[in-house]
């Protein structure tokens, strides 16, 4: 039975993880995402599904517990917020290198440093461009509602296991903290598979399995890198997700992701009321980025305004995607500040239409 509830984004994420059949959650408290582990502890998933929940001594320990559980072929998930996600980068690099599946949620807050506890999108580069050391990619999903948090939790596990790759859900302080109506899916099975790449105990008569990201020979490491790159090209081909609104006749385009895209959509509606032909393109996957969608719409446009709650990060990918075919400008509020629809409309008029 599908079930409707009014839930906070962080709590919905926790409930979605249980229902998606997660085997383990390891995490550490940090504002504004502590409701995730609080909800899990209070709801006793161990009794409901057998899912393990453990509060680790640090984000570093948590991501390495994820490595251990993921290496056993289990569905493992962790969540944190920006400073904590920075601590997880070492582990993420190892997980990507060892090709293990897992889900990591970043409820982004303003930075750099200890920053603020208010919402931000300033971890785009960290999520999309790497974050840890070495040539690797996370699949990055950017929900803009509590419903998408729930839906993307399920999708994230599917993609993680399809590609044996870490998947990041890039939430933020707005989506994590706000309450919305959400439709929950039915309880799914926990992992029953005994994957041949996982350490589940040696099979009699077979050689043992090991999980590692170490190659002592450069020739071997290059082979690993080529394999990873081939996987990333597959992901770019198959897994791009985006939404378009009123793009058919658009002369101007607004683009934004996550919570910011909702405010930007309001700005688009206000502009339409004024007779400005503007559309909205919202990437739902930040990696893989919807390059083709931008490329396709660029020739009909007089300009694109990229609205972000940061100092200008996704705008670089938009520029690369349109490759000079149209003008691209950035408008951002940051440090925990949220742009208003008026500000966005004003920026569109100043920077793109009048500029």
């Amino acid at each position: 039975m599908k079930e409707l509830r009014l839930m906070k984004g962080n709590e919905a994420l926790a409930e979605a993880a249980i229902r998606a059949g997660a085997d383990a959650y390891f995490g550490y408290p940090i504002t504004p995402q502590s409701e995730v582990i609080e909800y899990l502890m209070a709801n006793r998933p161990e009794d409901r599904t057998g899912m393990v929940v453990l509060q680790a001594e640090s984000e570093i320990a948590a991501i390495n517990m994820i490595y251990g559980a993921a290496g056993c072929g289990k569905k493992a998930i962790t969540s944190s917020s920006s400073p904590g996600i920075s601590l997880k980068q070492e582990g993420l690099s190892y997980i990507a290198g060892a090709e293990l599946p897992c889900v990591v949620v970043n409820v982004v807050r303003g930075g750099p440093g200890l920053g603020t506890i208010q919402p931000s999108q300033s971890d785009y580069f960290q999520s999309v461009k790497g974050g840890g050391h070495g040539d690797y990619k996370l699949i990055v999903l950017a929900p803009n509602s509590v419903q998408e948090i729930v839906d993307f939790t399920k999708l994230a596990f599917e993609l993680a296991f399809k590609y044996r790759n870490p998947v990041m859900i890039q939430s933020d302080g707005i989506i994590g903290q706000m309450m919305e109506k959400v439709e929950l899916y039915e309880q799914m099975q926990r992992t029953e598979n005994d994957y041949d790449w996982a350490t589940t105990g040696r099979k009699e008569g077979k050689s043992a399995t090991f999980v590692t990201s170490l190659q002592l020979q450069a020739e071997e490491q290059e082979k690993v890198n080529l394999k990873l790159q081939a996987k990333y090209r597959e992901i770019e081909k198959n897994e791009v997700l985006f939404e378009q609104h009123l793009c058919d006749d658009a002369e101007y385009l607004l683009t934004a992701f996550g919570s910011c895209a909702r405010i930007t959509r309001k700005a688009m509606e206000m502009a339409r009321e004024k007779g400005i032909k503007v559309g909205l393109l919202r990437p739902q996957t930040l990696y893989p980025f919807p390059v083709e969608a931008f490329n396709k719409i660029a020739p009909q446009l007089k300009g694109i305004l990229c609205v972000e709650m940061n100092a200008g990060q996704m705008v670089e990918d938009v520029k690369l995607a349109v490759n000079g075919k149209t003008k691209v400008e950035h408008f951002g509020r940051f440090g925990g500040m949220i742009p208003s629809p008026d500000e966005i409309l004003n920026a569109l008029e100043q920077k793109i239409i009048g500029g």
């Binding site: 085997d23 383990a24 390891f26 393990v52 453990l54 680790a56 001594e57 640090s58 570093i60 320990a61 948590a62 390495n64 517990m65 994820i66 490595y67 251990g68 559980a69 993921a70 290496g71 056993c72 289990k74 493992a76 070492e90 582990g91 190892y94 060892a98 350490t199 589940t200 105990g201 040696r202 099979k203 009699e204 050689s207 043992a208 399995t209 090991f210 999980v211 590692t212 990201s213 170490l214």
Partner: protein, 255 residues
């Protein structure tokens, strides 16, 4: 060739199948090979080869998964107890061990070590302490003795500026989460036998779910101590053992 020399009726001892046939990369005279073999023999004797999952560290034993014929994961530097926690929590019925050196366990991984022990994770931690960073080429470790020379303490460890050598084993023995804590050596046959008995007890205790078992093996590093194997063992007895005395530190209360 040795196969031809040894007749089956004369065979009294052979390499356990829990070790692979791969040639070990350890330096001549190093204790790692013996420590590996004792642990592998214990796994063999307990008949748990297919129920054991090991975690290798970063350090000289980074390639331990090449030698143990059991499923293994290679952890980031110092994180083995956290990785082992993740494994044990999803597979509580399996036997899980970490195999770590002193830099890995007692410097960069101190938090993971203490907290895994404090939670009483039902795992075995094998801690090989040779007082130096071996793989990276002889730098000072948390366990490097006072006055001992290393490439980052070329004039000897000065405790005023570098701190005293860390007795992490005594430290974790204080934690209620640990069940059996002992310090052993593998440089002489009598010590090898004792160390093996300790490893076997520690592995067996895992099925009791009573907490973390911790076996330190004080060992040598001829290459980075810049000694012959025989000299290094003598130096270890004269210098390491007084500071890191062998024997049980915490034993289960027998009822």
């Amino acid at each position: 060739m040795s196969e031809n020399l040894i007749k089956p009726e004369n065979l009294v001892y052979k390499k356990t199948d829990v070790l692979t046939d791969r040639i070990m990369h350890y330096c001549p005279g190093c204790g790692h090979g013996t420590a590996h073999r004792m642990l592998a023999e214990v796994i063999d004797e307990l008949g748990i080869q297919n129920e054991t999952i090991g975690v290798a560290p970063v350090g000289c034993s980074v390639l331990a998964y090449y030698y143990f014929n059991v499923d293994m994961q290679e952890a980031a530097h110092g994180r083995a107890p956290a990785v082992a926690t993740g494994i044990k929590r999803v597979f509580p019925e399996k036997y899980v061990f970490t195999y770590q050196g002193d830099g890995d366990l007692a410097a960069i991984g101190t938090a993971e070590t203490i907290h895994a022990c404090n939670r009483g994770e039902n795992i075995l931690i094998v801690f090989v302490n040779n007082g130096i960073y071996g793989m990276t080429g002889g730098q000072m470790a948390p366990t490097t003795l006072e006055g001992m020379k290393s490439s980052t303490s070329p004039f000897g460890r000065d405790v005023k500026t570098m701190g005293a050598p860390l007795k992490i084993t005594e430290l974790i023995a204080q934690l209620p989460g640990t069940y059996f804590v002992t310090r052993q050596a593998v440089h002489k046959p009598a010590n090898v036998r004792k160390a093996k008995r300790a490893l076997k007890k520690a592995m067996e205790y895992q099925k009791l779910n009573k907490g973390t078992c911790f076996v330190e093996i004080v060992s040598n590093c001829p290459s980075n101590w810049k000694m012959t194997p025989a000299q290094s063992n003598k130096w270890m007895e004269e210098n390491m053992f007084p500071y890191y005395p062998l024997g049980d530190i915490k034993v289960p209360e027998e009822k």
